[in-house]
Assembly symmetry: none
Homo-oligomer: 429 residues x 2
């Protein structure tokens, strides 16, 4: 990733809900990380409500003191969405209709079989001369305006839409603008089934306190290790980065499921597609989370047949066919029950792989021997069944996401081993 | 909710780590909620790094436009902790040593069996005339300065220390200062199954552009309408708010599932618990999302038995018992299939209620007659089965969350009707 310092940057977050505390503002952190990876230093954050005068005042001030200004929120169809008009007003440029955006808004509604509400027309107006940034996850496009050496970027408020637009449109643009300056490169290794401190213990002797630099980010069920390096040329930065990153990867191989923007469910889906194998899931403590993640991926119907949310013991025995005496003898949260669930769902859904999770998500339901965080994950295939035991730290959400990712990772590792096995076989034949 | 307009307030967050994204800024949300409970309306947030000139600039600006200014962070012992000196400098007052604070710092270290590092002496200096706010959870005391009708509050950066100090010292102070002021009240209505623009179309003639004021927030599968009103007394503000809020609610009744901090899965869970009824889910396009949401709620095992993720037609027919000819004749995405799924899962899981979703989440899999966003939601009970058709706007995530919430809302509305029905019955008996 390419970077420049020297570009004075500030972020403006719009929305009265931010000031009232109804919504936790995560844009500052996300954009701060992304921009520093690009080598861009943010000097100010400002949050302001949906108020015409105050919003214009904040934008005016930003134009006076900064070169790159990113404004989030206020691109919706309602009358309290003022960003486009306020920015155009301060810049002294007109707001004009973008025919192409309007057509695609009409098409979006038409394809949905509905008439577009008149208020949505507003979302097709932009400051004159703006580059329109497509919104792959919502209706409101963003915009990028360059005027008098300043860059103003307007992004939608919903984090899900903002991150996609920033990564698809803004980062490539900023990369182009920044070329020739001091360059930073970074790479992210994504891990599951290991804690942040355990990750750190494994690699702390590798250095990474200056340039190159190692940083850690904990997400639900996932730890990210980011390695960054700066140099005078992309090649030099990549060399420094590559040397350290390789060492980091080799220390953490067994927990690593992907790089950069990889999602575990996408990585697993790709492997399933390549292997032409199908999967079914039996979920107790995750309650549908694995199925939900797998089906977040477009096209997942190719390899995901379905699954059972076996929350009660009755569903585990009657529908999945877990023998009641297994639950009686070993408990619902046990290696034996997990294996029976995985085998059961494989048969039930007619899938090649059966994946099962049973555990204690908390806050209740635990015993001294079976604490909150204890999870069994099992994979059943035509070759037999395996089971892994985990003890996840944290609260309910952490345990559930940890368990879901551990299960998906178990299937991923099986497919990977299987693939390389088959490849060896093929090359030998 | 009590809020005061009239006291212009802004928050300043100091710390370069905030701008770099190393730390998620949660102060804005915490203070926003607490201040609006006190009736104080926040107009701006600003985050700025540990930079002498920029920090002073931000404080100077705040003094020009606000009456109450809360500054967080920068009270530590290191050289990049500049808040006390910067604020004193802008206010034109001296920084003086507080003997009592210094003694207690020495005592703190002595009791810990260590010598106090010299750098900590800095933490005993405050703007002259400041009220010193004890820190019950760390070494850095806070401070409160009143000058020329302005109030400046300095709080430590660590959330754990900040919240204790705010609650122990600042809230009582502000309560005293605020008596007799203009008060704001607000209430949030939470909706599902309707788009933001359609919400606005239904209520735009009610006004709400000034006082009282209506605002909209879109979340995945959810629209929030916030109504706020200000007046000279809590009673008067509540009256103005209540009159408009009631009208808003009556226009949107069929889509409303809760108020303020309500989560749909919690509202539904509470109703199921009260009714002593259990629920099972059959999910096609939502792929486990409903189960995942329901089991996000601790204690959900009381009413949630489980469900089937029926992603493939094979699972729909073989496990759920949807007649193959139903799918053949009407399609997997149809009213008839949805009803058969709901009835099937009710039987399969032995639940009182069976809830089913089938639809086109996109981006692929659509036809002209069955566009992306078309979703059937069905509820099966001992009294029979019902089905609703939805056309959700947006992309895959929007459709899936919209569908999950619409399904949960269908069950919620049934339980509510059932409850009031039973109540009537009881009173008649």
């Amino acid at each position: 990733m390419e970077v420049i310092s020297g570009m004075k940057t500030e972020l403006i977050f719009t929305g009265t809900e931010l000031l009232l505390g109804h919504v936790l503002n995560t844009h500052g952190q996300y954009l701060g990380i992304k921009l520093s990876e690009l080598g861009i230093e943010v000097l100010y954050h400002t949050a302001v409500g949906d108020d015409w005068d105050r919003l214009r005042g904040v934008v005016r001030q930003a134009l006076e003191r900064s070169e790159l200004i990113i404004v989030t929120g206020g691109l919706g169809p309602t009358t309290d969405d003022l960003t486009v008009e306020a920015v155009a007003d301060v810049l002294g440029i007109k707001v004009v209709l973008d025919r192409k955006t309007l057509d695609s808004l009409y098409a979006l509604y038409r394809n949905g079989g509905r008439a577009m509400p008149e208020s949505n027309i507003k979302q097709a107006y932009f400051p004159e001369g703006a580059v329109i940034l497509p919104n792959t996850r919502g209706t409101a496009p963003g915009a990028l305006v360059e005027k008098q050496g300043k860059i103003i970027v307007l992004l939608p408020g919903p984090p899900f839409e903002l991150t996609a637009m920033f990564e698809n449109s803004v980062i490539p643009y900023l990369n182009r603008r920044m070329s020739g300056r001091q360059v930073m490169r970074y790479k992210v290794l994504k891990l599951t089934g290991i804690s942040e401190s355990a990750v750190q213990d494994r690699i702390k002797d590798l250095g990474g306190r200056g340039n190159p630099c190692i940083a850690y980010v904990a997400r639900l069920g996932e730890i990210q290790v980011r390695v960054a390096a700066s140099a005078g040329s992309p090649e030099a930065a990549e060399k420094i980065l590559g040397d350290l990153f390789e060492k980091v990867c080799s220390r953490l191989e067994e927990f690593a499921f992907g790089y950069d923007d990889d999602l575990l469910e996408e990585v697993l889906g790709k492997l399933l597609k390549e292997s032409r194998l199908t999967i079914g899931v039996a979920e107790s403590c995750t309650g549908g989370l694995i199925g939900s993640k797998l089906t977040d991926v477009p096209g997942s119907s190719e390899y995901f047949k379905g699954g059972l949310i076996a929350y009660s013991n009755e569903v585990k025995t009657k529908v999945l066919g877990v023998p009641p005496q297994t639950i009686e003898k070993y408990g619902a949260v046990s290696r034996e029950t997990a294996i029976a669930m995985a085998e059961g769902v494989r048969k039930l859904t007619g899938s090649d792989l059966g994946l099962a999770v049973t555990g204690i998500a908390g806050p209740g339901g635990y015993t001294e021997k079976k604490p909150v965080g204890l999870v069994y994950v099992s994979l059943s295939t035509e070759e037999g069944s395996e089971c892994l035991e985990y003890r996840f730290p944290g609260k309910r959400a952490g345990v559930r996401h940890g368990a879901a990712n551990a299960a998906m990772n178990m299937a991923r590792r099986y497919l990977l081993a299987n693939k390389s096995g088959r490849k060896t076989g093929e090359s030998g034949s």
